[in-house]
């Protein structure tokens, strides 16, 4: 064995362990904070003490569900997320069909216009909506929040539906119509089922984004309608205790559930392959 190949092998070993070190550290950095949060949520102490907790208890969860403002805002968030999802998916799917099938000038421009809320910082959207809706005289908190959430989730729904529509075979719909189906029948029995993956992915994204949003909701919330994340942020700024850790555990569980659904219905590779992640 000559010196050159020995040097190359040493170089490889160093580079390899460096890469694995970075990967290990990176994954640990991603996982450890979440693990700590989950463990601390079961801390039996009544104050915020160092890791690890000496004993475990569910009392932070009890405190969480005994807080009226958290329960009210959780209800608001859930209702809002459901309405946002239904509206975004309906409007987005229709728009995707229109964009895919329509034959009109400026189609590409319209598509990118519909996706443009993705590149505008959420705070700017929230602040802009606040000013505009106040001027327009729309003061109902729920209505404001709904509009804000639909604006930011709609691009995802349009994008995922459009992707699955363009990816599916157009000729199947044509075949149905050649065989005598009306346009409406062909749409409901062929086109829409073919779009299923895109519609479901869009719905999951819309629901998750609506449940999590802070930047827009903080501007549009009012005492009559406050979302869970907004309540949690103000709690976090007022007193940093472990009820938020308990809330985090619940939210992580909900997200994990959504992820399992996403994997079962769509499959991760589809999601990654389409590259539909913005931020």
């Amino acid at each position: 064995m000559n010196i050159q190949s020995l040097a190359a092998r040493t170089g490889d070993r160093i580079a390899g362990s460096l890469a694995y070190g970075v990967i290990g550290l990176g994954l640990a950095f991603l996982a450890i904070p979440l693990v700590i949060t989950c463990v601390m949520a079961f801390d039996a102490r009544t104050y915020l003490g160092p890791m690890p907790p000496p004993a475990l208890s569910l009392h932070w969860f009890e405190r969480l569900v005994s807080q009226a403002d958290i329960l009210t805002s959780l209800r608001t968030s859930l209702i809002l997320a459901v309405f946002t999802t239904v509206l975004s998916v309906t409007i987005g799917t229709a728009a995707a069909v229109g964009l895919a099938r329509g034959n009109f000038p400026g189609k590409a421009a319209l598509t990118s216009a519909f996706l443009s809320p993705l590149i505008v910082p959420p705070v700017v959207i929230g602040f802009g909506l606040l000013l505009f809706l106040s001027k327009a005289g729309i003061t109902n908190g729920m209505a404001r929040l709904l509009l804000g959430h639909v604006i930011v989730t709609l691009p995802y729904c349009i994008r995922t539906s459009l992707a699955s529509l363009l990816g599916s075979d157009q000729r199947l719909t044509e075949a149905a119509m050649v065989l005598g189906a009306t346009e409406r029948q062909a749409f409901w029995t062929i086109t829409l089922p073919l779009m299923r993956t895109g519609v479901v992915t869009g719905a999951i994204f819309a629901f998750a984004i609506s449940m999590d949003d802070v930047s827009i909701s903080l501007f549009l919330s009012d005492p009559s309608a406050t979302t869970l994340p907004v309540t949690l942020v103000s709690n976090m700024r007022a007193a940093f205790d472990l009820t938020i850790a308990a809330a985090a555990v619940v939210l992580i569980a909900v997200t994990a559930l959504l992820i399992v659904v996403l994997d079962r219905v769509v499959g991760f590779d589809t999601v990654v392959g389409q590259g539909l992640f913005r931020s």
Binding site: A15, I32, L131, G148, T173, F240, F277
Partner: protein, 294 residues
């Protein structure tokens, strides 16, 4: 393989009514909920500030005062903070995401791959709030990383300590997204190129340096810029982790709104932020266009 036809010939929307039916609702939402507020924001930013009301006074004098006021030391330092903290976070994110993406694409069993992807997608979809809180719990007053940072000689109330925690918060969100972005590009690199380089005598690290890196370079650039866009429009992370001492542009907009109710000034900052975001996106688009044309 070319698609036979993109425009369906047999079926197309027969009349304007169907187009209005499918595209109408989205257009309505877009115009009312997005376009009008942005235009209003632009108008508002040119209005004179009158304390104590939502929005400017009707027929307020047009002025560029709100923009002029931004050209001061304080706002310049906010802009600088946003960019350098965001930039550092974006780069650290790529340094981890790049090897991680390669590892997921080439070095892992299908089962582990699903597990790792599931973990990353869970991170992308889970609330910024949870991640921010988790970082605070980890690096904060009782966090297990606190002694580590203290041994580095950082006082917990120093600006450096807070900067590091904010960067950690941003990196935590950037790594999963950047990894998922880079996976796509790595999948399209032919692994045989690497084998060829190595069988011709190149050591592994050199083969990666001359094949994997250049071939995924355009994706790396756009992933960096996407991470940067994310970082400079971040709101919750600097707000909670920055403890009021690290301010990003979005935090200043919120302060203008919540503390002093200076809406015209908030609108002016919003437009500056919008311009910055659009500029970064323009660079991304340019980079991608070059990638396609090559």
């Amino acid at each position: 393989m070319t698609k036979v036809r993109r425009q369906p010939v047999a079926i197309s929307i027969p009349d304007r009514r169907d187009a209005a039916l499918t595209l109408g609702p989205a257009l309505l939402v877009f115009a009312f909920g997005f376009l009008s507020p942005l235009i209003n924001l632009a108008i508002e930013s040119l209005k004179e500030f009158t304390p104590g009301r939502v929005g400017s006074v009707e027929n307020a004098a047009a002025t560029v005062q709100n923009y002029y006021e931004l050209a001061n030391q304080a706002f310049a330092s906010v802009l600088l903070t946003t960019f350098w903290i965001g930039g550092v976070a974006a780069i650290i994110g790529q340094l981890v995401a790049f090897p991680l993406a390669y590892f997921i694409v080439r070095r892992i069993s299908p089962r582990m791959r699903t597990l790792t992807l599931g973990f990353l997608i869970t991170l992308v979809l889970s609330s910024v709030l949870i991640k921010t809180y988790a970082i605070e719990l980890t690096f904060g007053s009782v966090g297990i990383f606190r002694p580590f940072l203290l041994t580095l000689g950082l006082s917990p109330n120093s600006r450096e300590y807070i900067n590091i925690v904010v960067i950690a918060g941003l990196v935590h969100s950037i790594i999963p997204v950047a990894t998922l972005t880079l996976i796509g590009a790595m999948q399209s690199i032919d692994p045989r190129l690497l084998d060829a380089a190595q069988s011709l005598g190149a050591p592994g690290w050199k083969a990666h340096l001359s094949i994997t890196l250049p071939l995924s370079f355009p994706a790396l650039i756009s992933s960096t810029l996407v991470s940067l866009t994310f970082a400079i429009s971040a709101f919750v992370i600097p707000m909670v982790l920055g403890r009021g001492r690290v301010l990003f542009m979005s935090n200043v907009i919120y302060t203008r709104f919540s503390d002093i109710a200076n809406y015209p000034s908030g609108a002016a900052i919003s437009l500056v932020m919008l311009a910055v975001a659009l500029a970064v996106v323009a660079v991304i688009t340019f980079a991608q266009a070059r990638r396609v044309s090559r």
